[in-house]
Assembly symmetry: C2
Homo-oligomer: 344 residues x 2
DNA sequence: CTGAAAGCGCTTACAG
DNA sequence: CTGAAAGCGCTTACAG
C-alpha cells in the first residue's frame, strides 16, 4: 500500500497530539491538563500525565511562545560582569529562575544607558515572560519600553524613595543608609577626618556618597576636600593609586571609606607597600564584603551586602508576578550589615 | 459596513506579510530577501529592504524557530561563576555572539556532570543554533546528546590530544604544558623542592598537576609528598590554609605552585601574617593571572591564560560553524605566557 | 468540563 | 528567479 504523498516536515519530536492520542483525549485537553489551567476532570488529568510521562513529552518552547505570545525566558540586565557583586546577583537569580522553569537571557549594559536600551529591545523580541533589571536609573526610552511591553519587571539593588507615587517592584537595600551607618561607626571610633573614595560613580556609589556626606554633616565634620571621586572602573590597582593620592595630598585624613571592597583591598596592599600603618595611622573601610576582604592584612572592615539574597528574592518576586499573583508590597528591603574587622 | 466576524488574535506586530504587501511581493520573497538566501532579483531585494526598514520590521524569533527548527540562541555551559576565569570567558563569548546576532543562554554546571547533562537537555529544547561548552570531560549521555542534536559545538579551554581520531572543535591551550613550563622556570631559578597545591581538582587542574609532575621527573626532583590536593573549591582562604599546612608539614619545600591565583594570593597574605619571607624562604607561584595578582606583596608570579581570547575565538569559530563554513582546522591553540614577578 | 476550528508568524518543499 | 500551499507545535476564542 503506497503511503499518501503528504508534504511532511516531521521532526521526530513527541507532540501534544501524540500525547492526546495516547490518552484518548483532544489536544486542547492535554494542553490544559499539562498547564493546570482551568478545570479539567481529575481522572483525565491523570491519564494525560501518565501518557505524557510515558512518551517523555516535553512541550516545544517556540511553539508555545508563538501561540501564547509569551516565552519562558527571563531577561536579566546587569551593568558589568567584572564586578563580583553582579556576578553573585546573576548567579542567584539565574538559579532561582531555573528552578521555576525559566531560562535567563543575560545582557551586560556596561553602565551605558544607550546600550541598556538596545539590549532591552533585543531581549523584548524574545517576548520574555519577565524582566530583572539592575537599579532604577534608566533613560526615558527604556522606561517606556518596559511599560509598553507589559512584561512583569523587578528592579534589583535599589529601593523606591520614601514618598514615591507609583513605585515599581524593587528588591534591594538603602545604599545611602548603609553609607551613613558605616560612616557613623567610623565616627564612633573617634575618627574625625573621614575621606570618601569613589570610583565608577554609578548611581549606587553616589548614594553611598550622600550617606557618608549626611553622616559627616550631622557630626559637623563634613568638608568638600574629603571627597575623592574617580569615574574610572573600580579595581585593586585603582584603590592603591587613590590611597597614595589621598595620603599624599591630605595628610590630616584619619580614615578612608572606599565605595567598593576591591578599592579598599588595593589600598590595604598599598599601605603595606608604603609602610603606612592601618589602622594606626589611617583606618580603611570598604563596601560589599567581597571575597578576600576577610583575608587581608589587616582584615577589612566593610558593609556586607545581601546581593545573593537580592538575586534570589528578586527572582522569587518575579516568579510570583509572572503567575499573576498580587504582591503584598511593592518592595523588599533586605538591609545590610556592618562587619568590623582589623582595618578600623 | 460591518467588519466581518473574524476570529482574530492580532498582536499588533509588523509581520512578514505586512512587508510583502508594502513591497508588492509575496511573503516568501520577503523571507528570502531578508535572509539573503537563494538568488532573489537585486531590484526586489532593495524594494523589500526599503519596505522592511520603513515599517521597522523585526522577524519574530519564535515563529522562525518553530518553522525552521532552529533558534538564534546559543547555549553556553560553564562550571562556575565564582571563578573569575569563567566569568571572563563568558563575558567575551557572550559579546561576540551578540555581535553576530545570537543570544546566549547560560548554564552553570557546578562541576557536576549530571547537572551538566540536565542543563544541556533543557537548553536543547530551545533548539539552540550552537553550543559552547567548557572542557572535554562530559558523561556519556552528554556526549550522545551533543552528537544527536546535530548542533554545532565548540569546546572551550582544553584541546584535543595529539593523536586523537575524531577531534571535536576546541579553542584553548595546553594546560599540562603550561604547568610544566612554569615548573621548569622555578627549577631554573634554583628551586628543588617545588610543591604543587591544587584545589577543586577539575580536569584542568589535574592537567597542570601532570605538567608539574613531568617537569619535576625530568629534573629528577619528583616526590609524591610534594603533592597537596584538596577537592574543596579554590579560594583565598583555602590558599592561606594550604600554605600554612605545607610550610608546617614540609619545612624543606622551597617553592609552591598553586593551581589558581586565588589560592596563591591567599598564600601570600598568609605568609605576611605568619612572617614567612617570600621569595626568600619560599617562592610562590599561581595560575591564570587573575585580578589583583600584580598588586600583591610581593607581586605574584603566574601564568597568564588567554581566557577572554578563548571566549572570543570560540564564539567566532562557532559563528563560522553555524554559517555552515568548513573549518581549516579543528582546534585553535591560544597558548599562555609566564609572568615572572616578585614572588619567585 | 471538553472540543473543532482557527490562528500565532514564519520557512520548507514542491512547482513553474 | 518567484510563488501558492502546507506545515512547524502549540494556545486562544468560541461553542456546547
Amino acid at each position: 500500500m503506497p503511503t499518501p504523498a503528504k508534504r511532511h516536515r516531521s521532526t521526530g519530536r513527541v507532540t501534544l497530539t501524540d500525547v492526546a492520542h495516547a490518552a484518548g483525549v483532544s489536544p486542547i485537553t492535554v494542553s490544559r491538563a499539562l498547564r493546570g489551567e482551568r478545570a479539567v476532570d481529575p481522572a483525565l488529568v491523570e491519564r494525560v500525565l501518565a501518557a505524557a510521562n510515558k512518551l517523555a513529552y516535553v512541550p516545544d518552547p517556540a511553539a508555545r511562545a508563538l501561540a501564547s505570545q509569551r516565552s519562558n525566558h527571563v531577561a536579566i540586565l546587569i551593568p558589568k560582569l567584572s564586578n563580583a557583586l553582579f556576578v553573585d546577583l546573576l548567579d542567584a537569580a539565574q538559579q532561582t529562575l531555573r528552578a521555576g522553569g525559566f531560562q535567563a537571557l543575560i545582557g551586560v549594559t556596561h553602565y551605558d544607558e544607550g546600550q541598556e536600551e538596545q539590549l532591552l529591545r533585543e531581549q523584548l523580541l524574545h517576548r520574555p515572560a519577565g524582566l530583572l533589571i539592575t537599579g532604577r536609573d534608566h533613560n526615558a526610552a527604556t522606561r517606556t519600553l518596559i511599560a509598553r511591553s507589559q512584561v512583569p519587571c523587578v528592579h534589583l539593588m535599589d529601593l523606591p524613595d520614601a514618598g514615591e507615587a507609583k513605585p515599581p517592584y524593587c528588591v534591594g537595600f538603602r545604599q545611602n543608609e548603609a553609607g551613613a551607618a558605616l560612616t557613623r561607626r567610623l565616627l564612633a571610633t573617634g575618627r574625625k577626618r573621614i575621606a570618601f573614595a569613589g570610583a565608577q560613580l554609578d548611581p549606587r556609589v553616589m548614594q553611598r556618597l550622600y550617606g557618608w556626606r549626611s553622616a559627616l554633616q550631622e557630626a559637623g565634620c563634613y568638608e568638600p576636600t574629603l571627597e575623592w571621586l574617580n569615574p574610572a572602573s573600580s579595581s585593586l590597582a585603582l584603590g592603591g593609586v587613590m590611597f597614595e593620592q589621598i595620603m599624599g595630598q591630605s595628610p590630616a585624613v584619619d580614615a578612608i571609606f572606599f565605595c567598593n571592597d576591591d578599592l579598599a583591598q588595593g589600598a590595604l596592599l598599598a599601605a603595606l607597600r608604603l609602610k603606612v600603618a592601618v589602622p594606626g595611622r589611617v583606618a580603611v573601610a570598604g563596601f560589599n564584603d567581597l571575597t578576600g576582604s576577610d583575608q587581608m592584612l589587616p582584615p577589612l572592615t566593610t558593609v556586607r551586602t545581601p546581593r545573593a539574597r537580592i538575586g534570589e528574592a528578586g527572582a522569587t518576586m518575579l516568579l510570583s508576578l509572572m503567575r499573576g499573583e498580587v504582591q503584598a508590597r511593592s518592595f523588599v528591603d533586605l538591609g545590610f550589615e556592618i562587619v568590623e574587622r582589623g582595618s578600623t
